[in-house]
């Protein structure tokens, strides 16, 4: 849930990266981290010290700087894939102000995408069990794989995105499209947080 | 006048003490002793009454009683120099008494250790053989102990630590804070009377305070 501290003029929001297993959720976080200047990344917790093992990146705080006198930050969480992490998933989503849905572009993964989207809807209830209206942006990953493996954006939209949420295609390896999608979801959630203000309010 | 005052405030230990001193001056030791005991009933920590009882006992050449009373006084007022001086005097005239030297800070085998609140040893030692590694380890733990005692007195609203005693099966250890940022530990065998341990530690603390002052 977005947090506003009027005294310190601080604003913090949470974006959750959701999607089926192996759709590239942590890759997306790595990609964002690598492209943001280090001083904006926020001091994030040290990861496990096993040398040679790539740390599992699941939380990335971003400092957006001062906006209209507000110090704004966004916490990015990648939802865990593990079956046993159901409670964790629900809790992370309970605080989500926006969702970046990573859908795997491979035709063979369409069923996984649909299942993940259904579980997102199930988990997006508020603390009292009512469904919450949270801005969602789609990110179709692995767009750089050979075309014969992919489903194509139109077919993907038909199955996953009949509501016409914003869509971005990305090649996770090269990272194209990821920042644009993040930009879009942050703009949407901020607009959502402060429903277009009355003039001068 | 003291009698009149006592009539008004019979429970005030100081009034009994004053009456006792008048009786002692008049040479009426029995009445003085009774008045001092009355003072101690009002205030068991009354150092003046302890000193008075020691004085009349000393005058009567009862050195054992004099020493015991002064040790009890030292227990309640470890920093009172007059008590220390009186104890020295009693012990020096006591037949067969072995006057115990105040342990010296410069002697690493004195069982006296001075350390700062960072746990660094400033002077002294604790082992019989002046083992420096041991002394450094004790200094490090001692600082933790002094801080813990200060935390307890602060959170329970008891004011500043005066002294801390630990007894084990084989030892008695006194800790006294010195200045604001140091403390000393005095380590003795279990046979030492507590009053004497505190008297020694009190005098050592005084010496340590002066020593620290000179160092600064």
């Amino acid at each position: 849930m977005a947090r506003l501290d009027a005294e310190r003029r601080e604003l913090a929001a949470t974006v959750v990266v959701y999607g089926p297993p192996k759709a590239g959720k942590t890759t997306i976080l790595h990609c964002i981290r690598d492209r943001v200047t280090p001083e904006r990344r926020g001091g994030f917790a040290p990861f496990g010290s096993d040398a040679g093992v790539a740390p599992l990146l699941d939380w990335l705080p971003l400092d957006l700087g001062t906006i209209a006198g507000w110090h704004a930050r966004v916490d990015l969480y990648a939802i865990p894939d593990q079956r046993h992490a159901d409670a964790t998933r629900r809790l992370i989503l309970a605080d989500a102000d926006g969702v970046l849905f990573a859908a795997d572009s491979q035709a063979a993964r369409l069923g996984d995408n649909v299942a993940a989207l259904a579980s997102l809807r199930d988990n997006l209830d508020d603390h009292d069990g009512r469904p919450r209206d949270v801005p969602v942006v789609f990110l179709y990953t692995k767009a750089d794989l050979p075309g014969e493996l992919l489903l194509g954006e139109i077919a993907m939209n038909r199955s996953l995105n009949p509501q016409h949420h914003p869509v971005f295609s990305c090649s996770a390896l090269r990272g194209e499209g990821v920042l644009e999608a993040l930009h879009a979801v942050i703009m949407l959630l901020m607009r959502h947080l402060a429903p277009v203000r009355e003039k001068g309010a | 006048m003291a009698l009149a005052g006592l009539g008004h405030y019979p429970s005030v230990a100081d009034a009994h003490d004053l009456l006792a001193r008048i009786r002692a001056d008049q040479g009426d030791d029995a009445a003085a002793i009774a008045a001092w005991h009355a003072a101690l009933e009002c205030d068991p920590a009354h150092v003046g009454a302890r000193k008075g009882l020691a004085f009349v006992a000393f005058r009567a050449r009862d050195f054992t009683t004099a020493e015991r009373q002064l040790e009890l006084a030292a227990m309640h007022a470890p920093h009172d120099a007059t008590v220390m001086v009186a104890l020295d005097r009693v012990r020096s005239v006591q037949p067969g008494a072995v006057a115990e030297d105040v342990p010296r800070l410069t002697d690493p085998a004195s069982g006296l250790l001075l350390y700062d609140m960072q746990g660094m040893r400033l002077a002294g030692g604790v082992g019989d053989d002046g083992d420096e590694t041991l002394a450094d380890a004790v200094a490090a733990e001692g600082a933790g102990l002094t801080r813990e005692a200060a935390r307890l007195t602060r959170l329970l609203g008891l004011g500043r630590t005066r002294h801390f005693l630990v007894e084990t099966a084989d030892a008695r250890i006194a800790m006294i804070p010195v200045a604001d940022d140091a403390a000393l530990l005095l380590h003795r065998g279990a046979a030492i009377p507590i009053g004497r341990l505190l008297a020694l530690a009190g005098r050592a603390a005084q010496a340590a305070d002066e020593w620290l002052e000179r160092m600064r």
Partner: protein, 155 residues
């Protein structure tokens, strides 16, 4: 130590220093992490927050069932080498939960004592919440867009 609400930092530092605790996690009763110390992986933080919030909710239910009207003050588990302290406390931001893991150098008593002080300090330090609509100025969106462009190198 990592804190999302900066005014929690000083009380948490005191709690950790005075109690000698190894790990600490402060969260909302919904499980949102407010501050943490000592966890090395953020996934562990999320799991601990989820489990902690769940345990406290379950214990509250248990208290109702066995007829302890005000609930249990805290849930404590004392293991051989480590103990866990889990307790809710009220703040102007709603009910929060603290989870503290401590070793033999500390004790339940010390954690209880300094946790109570921590909860008092947090309740005092919390700045008031202000509804969003009142405070976001016009131009916020334009500036946000510019800031994101600069941040993501999109010019």
């Amino acid at each position: 130590m990592r804190v999302l609400e900066p005014w929690v930092a000083a009380p948490l530092t005191e709690l950790l220093g005075e109690s000698g605790a190894r790990l600490a996690l402060i969260m909302t009763s919904a499980g949102q992490v407010v501050a943490q110390h000592g966890f090395t992986r953020s996934l562990d933080v999320m799991s601990a927050a989820a489990l902690g919030a769940g345990i406290l909710a379950t214990t509250g239910e248990l208290a109702n069932v066995v007829g302890a009207p005000s609930g249990f003050g805290a849930v404590v588990h004392q293991g051989g080498q480590q103990g866990v302290w889990l307790a809710g406390f009220d703040t102007p931001r709603g009910r929060w939960i603290g989870l503290v893991v401590f070793g033999p150098e500390s004790s339940i008593g010390l954690v209880r004592l300094f946790f109570a002080r921590f909860a008092e300090q947090v309740a005092r330090a919390a700045p008031p919440l202000v509804p969003v609509r009142e405070v976001l100025a016009e131009g916020f969106e334009r500036e946000l867009d510019q800031s994101l462009r600069a941040l993501f190198g999109a010019g």
